[in-house]
């Protein structure tokens, strides 16, 4: 057994010898870890980079097409007008670009006995799937030509495809949306970027159809902000309005392409002003990458930030308690540690032994804290709204983070009691043993 193995053996014996104190310390760590990590799970999910490989290359934008008499300030708007989105799409100044809007459809299952299903999704451009790295299980995305021609083709989520065509390949099959026939050309693998960055309001995606096809089939928008009333309620009517309802994303892979695109937007908005349209003064646009967009949209609510702060404060309080308990524990061991010193242990040996014992307490506290977290997350899911509840879940990353935080924080807290224990003059305690 190496010296570290020997320290481990001594630590386990020490914990068993003073089991009540050890258990209290473990519980103090577990309560703090359980509470803080439960809240942090939500915070982490909300602050997650949903597409880390490309988040600095994907941009969404807002254009001030309302001018000075705007009903809503530019920095509070969420989308662009159809006219602007279509113009930008046709200009093709980015590597890839996509328009999108959220849709709801009623799906008639192939099985005549089955009831219709309500499904949500997005009408998107052809580049959408490649731009956002949406993974295909089978089939393919539609082409630009299919998009612009309004072809009735669709891509389904794995979940919807398996529900409609259990045990079969859905590609090539016909599906009925809103009593209209569409042909399935692709099925995605399970794909659920968190946060749902390309549409932070409508986050369920079981159905994707081409943007122009959705409009041709008069699939209405679920949300629009208008400065002047549109000529009618339909999506077709909104096409000619100044209403903002289209999310526009563009892929700009290099800093040069971002600069070039910004210049293009400058020119575009200036041109609109020259044509007499009431576009705002320059710069009449905002360009956000994924992180910037999530920040601007306050994806992490202030309540969650505050709760995270409070929860970590609680962890600190629990760890301070753990420090007191560890001090008491090592004080109780001082006689035994003095014997070790007399028999050849250096201060460093004693410090290492105590720190290892602390790490064991931290690991046990972390494991118990995980159990507390599972309970805490269950409560959290019940308390949170429908949008946030799915984020309160324990994944392998969170398990690793929890154990690391538990062990690291306990070791940090145990450093002082361990140092104190290593500095105790052994001579004082050998006589009294």
């Amino acid at each position: 057994m190496s010296i570290v193995g020997y320290y481990l053996d001594l630590a386990l014996r020490s914990l068993r010898r003073n089991a009540v104190l050890a258990a209290l310390t473990v519980v103090a760590v577990a309560v703090g870890i359980g509470a803080s990590m439960t809240v942090f799970t939500l915070f982490r999910a909300l602050s997650n980079d949903p597409i880390p490989e490309k988040s600095s290359q994907l941009f969404t934008l807002l254009i001030d097409n309302w001018g000075p008499r705007a009903a809503i300030p530019l920095d509070l708007r969420l989308a662009v007008s159809y006219a602007d989105a279509t113009a930008l799409l046709q200009a093709r100044r980015g590597l890839r670009q996509s328009e999108s809007y959220a849709i709801n459809v009623t799906v008639t299952p192939p099985d005549p006995a089955a009831s219709p299903i309500s499904a949500s999704g997005h009408a998107v451009s052809a580049d959408f799937f490649q731009m956002f790295d949406a993974p295909f299980r089978s089939g393919r995305p539609w082409t630009g030509t299919e998009d612009t021609s309004g072809a009735p083709v669709a891509v389904l989520s794995a979940q919807l495809a398996d529900r409609l065509f259990p045990g079969q390949n859905a590609v090539g099959r016909e599906v009925i949306f809103n009593e209209q026939s569409w042909r399935v050309i692709g099925v995605l693998r399970p794909w659920d970027p968190q946060p749902h960055f390309y549409d932070l309001i409508f986050a369920n995606d079981d159905v994707f159809v081409p943007f122009e096809s959705a409009l041709a089939h008069n699939y209405n928008t679920l949300m629009a902000a208008c400065n002047t009333p549109p000529p009618g309620p339909s999506a077709q009517a909104k096409k000619a309005s100044d209403c903002l309802w289209v999310n526009f994303w563009v892929e700009l892979p290099t800093a040069a392409s971002v600069r070039s695109y910004s210049q293009f937007l400058e020119n575009y908005t200036a041109e609109q002003r020259r044509l007499g349209r009431s576009y705002g003064p320059p710069p009449a646009y905002y360009l956000y990458d994924v992180r910037g967009w999530l920040t601007r949209q306050h994806v992490i609510p202030d309540e969650v930030r505050l709760a995270t702060f409070v929860a970590f404060g609680f962890l600190v309080v629990c760890l301070l308690n753990a420090i007191s308990l560890l001090l008491a524990k090592f004080t109780a061991r001082v006689g035994s540690l003095s014997v070790h010193r007399a028999l050849g242990a250096s201060r460093l040996d004693v410090f290492a032994q105590c720190l290892l014992e602390t790490a064991l307490v931290g690991a046990a506290g972390g494991l118990l804290g995980l159990a507390a977290m599972l309970f805490g997350l269950k409560i959290e899911r019940l308390m949170l709204g429908e949008t946030l509840a799915p984020l309160a879940r324990l994944d392998s990353g969170m398990v690793a983070i929890t154990l690391c935080v538990a062990i690291a924080s306990t070791i940090a807290c145990g450093a002082y009691p361990s140092w104190r224990a290593s500095r105790v003059p052994p001579a004082l305690h050998l006589k009294a043993q």
Partner: protein, 239 residues
């Protein structure tokens, strides 16, 4: 072997300085059995803990086996303590959570000896003190005399250059005390160097040389068995 020259240990507070040892000089040669006696508060324990490298001193010089201990770091002192010194305490100081075997292995672990070597030394030490059959017992399962024998075995297993014994029979009845004293004398006969602190004049008299401490200073009572002892009187005028 052990040479202390003009060694002082002072405990200082804001208002008072207390000398536990003052200008203390002692030379213990290889193979000697020296007893250190004196009244309570005379500095016996301070001498022992300094000799055992468990405490630092304020001034003077201490050479252990030719090594000036003042210049050593804590790690070096710990290694030197492990390699050169064996302790026998009044309270035995066996670790209750370890078996007798486990207790004897503690200093061998810090010496980073391999398992086979540790086991060999443990077995030999236990045989030497007559506890070979008690290796797997816990200290609480042994009598006081047996515990002290186990503590001596722990010291012997390291083959120390000398044994420091602090009131080794202080917690034992007279029968057990005789047994332990007999063991120490046997070890001395086999060549061990022993320094024993005791307040028991009868036990002290059984050592080869007796050093009497008063107020942190030595009153050497001279060699009893031959003239090997290095006699040093450091009495201050008026003491």
């Amino acid at each position: 072997m052990l040479q202390m020259t003009n060694l002082s240990k002072v405990y200082r507070t804001e208002v008072i300085e207390t000398y536990a040892l003052r200008e203390f000089s002692l030379h213990v040669r290889e193979g000697e059995f020296v007893s250190v006696t004196g009244p309570s508060g005379s500095g016996k324990t301070t001498f022992l803990t300094i000799a055992g490298l468990l405490e630092e001193f304020s001034s003077g010089e201490y050479l252990l086996d030719g090594v000036d201990v003042r210049k050593l770091s804590d790690t070096q002192r710990s290694r030197l303590r492990n390699e050169k010194i064996g302790f026998v305490f009044q309270a035995f100081n066996l670790l209750s959570e370890l078996t007798i075997e486990g207790n004897i292995e503690v200093p061998l672990r810090y010496r980073r000896l391999g398992r086979a070597e540790r086991q060999r030394r443990t077995r030999e030490a236990l045989e030497r003190v007559g506890l070979a059959g008690r290796a797997r017992h816990y200290p609480a399962e042994l009598s006081g005399g047996q515990q002290q024998r186990a503590a001596i075995a722990r010291a012997l297993a390291c083959s120390p250059r000398f044994l420091l014994a602090d009131e080794p029979t202080g917690n034992l009845d007279s029968l057990m005390a005789r047994g332990v004293m007999q063991l120490l004398q046997e070890l001395h006969s086999d060549g061990a160097t022993i320094v024993m602190v005791t307040h028991d004049q009868e036990l002290a008299a059984r050592a080869q040389r007796e050093v009497h401490l008063v107020d942190g200073q030595i009153l050497d009572l001279g060699a009893r068995l031959g003239a090997q002892g290095a006699v040093q009187l450091n009495l201050q005028p008026g003491t």
